[in-house]
């Protein structure tokens, strides 16, 4: 049985439907991420799990018991807020000890457990400091320690890395994975950063306009997005307007607008003449000089228009013969400086059939 089951949950603010009939099952021990653009309903959903907002319809079941009527303090969940929400008038030790104090633990026990926790998060020397005397990273560790000290059934995290700078964020991502594994607590993590979601999660629910678009493991979400929104939101993807010319059990034949015919793996519920996009990720695109081009059917001719050198990789922007553009991502794995293509070079781009997809409109 799922640890937490969200069943047909709906939430409306005035005429705006924030969460629209969402159902999710979260397993014990999982690092589960709600991912989507701002306003997609992910934070509202998290707030309903925490008990800050009541759903207009549906159920939230913990171990099979509906907890919708429970106030936040009666739910065995803790939240790590984006702002950390540390109590400004309490020391670090009092902040971390707060959940223990509220659950009526003896003063001595609180003292020992707070001391242990401070030791674990390496904040012992900050025990008597106030939150405004801490750095962003330290505040965050206090927030995590406070959220986990009472061993909640679920830790809810609302974009907790949002306020940190990039370098610190990467370190914290690794720390978070370790923390979750060590604590053995189920995490529900809310973020709009797709790379963060991919790096951290066991499973991701991609949300858009209050609905769930796809729930799956990160690699499956990335490689097999169910629709155009997911494909576009997670990672980068080239999209060219196309329509279906032939349907077979193995593949679909597409006509790319202004260009030639290509083939993609077969897909359910697609008919001839369906319009949509032909999509392929930049790192799946190969660039070959036109002179050495092997003639396969999945090949388009074009010209190098521009490139973005980022260090580890270079993105080439290729203008195709119908003047649409396609991006190709090439790793700079050859030692020393090499630049295989120059702006203006006439090239061909190709890809493997399995790496391309068709998304109907």
């Amino acid at each position: 049985m799922a640890l937490l089951e969200i069943r047909n949950v709906t939430k409306q603010f005035g005429n705006f439907i924030a969460v629209d009939n969402v159902s999710i099952e979260i397993r014990a021990g999982e690092f589960f991420t709600l991912l989507g653009p701002s306003g997609c309903g992910k934070t509202t959903l998290l707030r309903m799990i925490a008990g800050f907002d009541a759903p207009d319809g549906g159920q939230i079941l913990l171990d099979g018991e509906d907890i919708v009527a429970f106030p936040p303090e009666k739910r065995p969940f803790h939240t790590v807020f984006q702002s950390y929400a540390l109590f400004p008038h309490m020391t670090v030790a009092d902040n971390i000890g707060f959940p223990l104090k509220m659950s009526g633990k003896a003063r001595e026990e609180i003292k020992t457990r707070v001391a242990e926790t401070l030791e674990e998060v390496e904040l012992s020397q900050f025990a008597d400091r106030y939150p405004h005397e801490l750095s962003g990273g330290q505040k965050q560790r206090v927030a995590f320690a406070r959220g986990l000290i009472n061993q909640p059934r679920l830790l809810l995290l609302d974009e907790p890395l949002g306020a940190l700078d990039e370098k610190l964020r990467e370190n914290m991502q690794r720390e978070l994975i370790n923390l979750q594994a060590e604590a053995g607590v189920t995490f529900i993590y809310v973020t709009h950063a797709q790379n963060e979601a991919l790096a951290l999660s066991h499973r991701i629910a991609v949300m858009n306009q209050g609905r769930i678009e796809q729930i799956d493991e990160p690699s499956r979400i990335y490689n097999f997005p169910v629709n155009r929104f997911v494909a576009d939101f997670i990672g980068k993807i080239n999209m060219l307007n196309a329509w279906v010319t032939e349907v077979s059990p193995v593949h679909l034949k597409l006509k790319v607008e202004g260009l030639g015919e290509v083939a993609v793996p077969a897909k359910d519920r697609i008919k001839v003449n369906d319009h949509g996009v032909f999509a392929v990720r930049p790192e799946q695109v190969r660039i070959v000089p036109l002179t050495t081009a092997i003639h396969t059917e999945f090949q388009l001719n074009g010209k190098i228009k521009d490139f973005l050198y980022i260090g580890d990789v270079t993105t080439y922007i290729i203008e195709l013969s119908n003047s649409t553009q396609i991006e190709a991502l090439l790793p700079n794995s050859v030692p020393g400086h090499t630049k295989p293509f120059e702006v203006g070079d006439t090239v061909a781009v190709s890809w493997q059939e399995q790496s391309a997809q068709f998304f109907p409109d």
Binding site: F81, A85, H89, H132
Partner: protein, 263 residues
């Protein structure tokens, strides 16, 4: 000597003039309260005579005692009710609530005085006296406390209160452990502000006092109807000292409030 650039010189002169305009009349009263002359005309010599005379003026001492009782009672009541109003205004985002609470602050005092007088006499059928003055002062102080408490709440991260509930605190525990300590500076500032407003209020007191007990500001006014004696200067100086002290304490709490820190 610090060198001040030209542009700042102008600013300095302007601010000195403003402060002179504000404080010279007050300084004159203080100076003449120590003047060994019955006339507020020229400096004769230093004396504490007028302060001694004040101590023997039973009417004045009674007025001071009454005013203190009123100010303490009214500021206590206004702080309690005003804090509750401030919390309610912050919690329930109804536009009409702040208007209702803050109107008495902006209302002309004379209007408030007349309406309270009519209310006491014709609706409550109350004999005017200490009680009516306390109620009247409480009325116009509530708004000030509510404004200060609400400002403090507005500057705070809303998720702090949610975090408390989330970590197992009941609504009452959240109020007691989190909300109250965090707004305490605002409550103290509001109480001190109410006290200073109450102790020197003239207009509303004048309308609601009836004929009984002497009240300090009214007593001072009665005295100067005869002549501005140095005794009036002395009592004014003492009142000024009290108010100034309280205002300084209140702004101490106020600045810590502006920084959003509290300890």
């Amino acid at each position: 000597m610090i060198k001040i650039p030209h542009r700042q010189t102008v600013l300095w002169i302007a601010s000195i003039l403003v402060y002179a305009f504000l404080y010279i009349p007050l300084i004159i009263i203080v100076v003449f309260s120590f003047n060994d002359s019955k006339l507020n005309a020229e400096w004769v010599g230093f004396t504490l005579h007028w302060y001694k005379a004040l101590l023997n003026n039973h009417e004045m001492l009674l007025a001071a005692r009454n005013s203190l009782i009123i100010a303490i009672s009214a500021s206590f009541l206004a702080t309690t009710l005003g804090t509750m109003a401030g919390l309610a205004i912050h919690r329930y985002k109804l536009k009409v609530l702040p208007i209702l609470a803050f109107t008495p602050v902006a209302m002309p005092e004379i209007l408030l005085g007349v309406s309270l007088l009519l209310f006491f006499l014709q609706v409550l059928n109350l004999t005017l006296g200490m009680l009516s003055i306390i109620i009247a002062h409480t009325t116009f102080c509530i708004g000030f406390v509510a404004i200060i408490v609400r400002a403090r709440l507005q500057g705070m991260d809303e998720s702090i209160f949610e975090a408390a509930r989330d970590l197992g605190a009941t609504p009452w525990q959240t109020f007691h452990q989190i909300t109250l300590p965090l707004i305490r500076p605002a409550i103290i500032a509001g109480a001190l502000m109410s006290f200073t407003l109450s102790i020197d209020d003239f207009v509303i007191t004048f309308f609601t006092k009836g004929v009984g007990e002497p009240i300090l500001p009214i007593q001072i006014y009665t005295m100067i109807k005869v002549a501005v004696t140095p005794e009036v200067n002395a009592i004014s100086t003492l009142l000024m000292l009290l108010t100034l002290t309280l205002i300084i304490i209140a702004t101490r709490f106020d600045t810590s409030m502006l920084r959003g820190e509290s300890k």
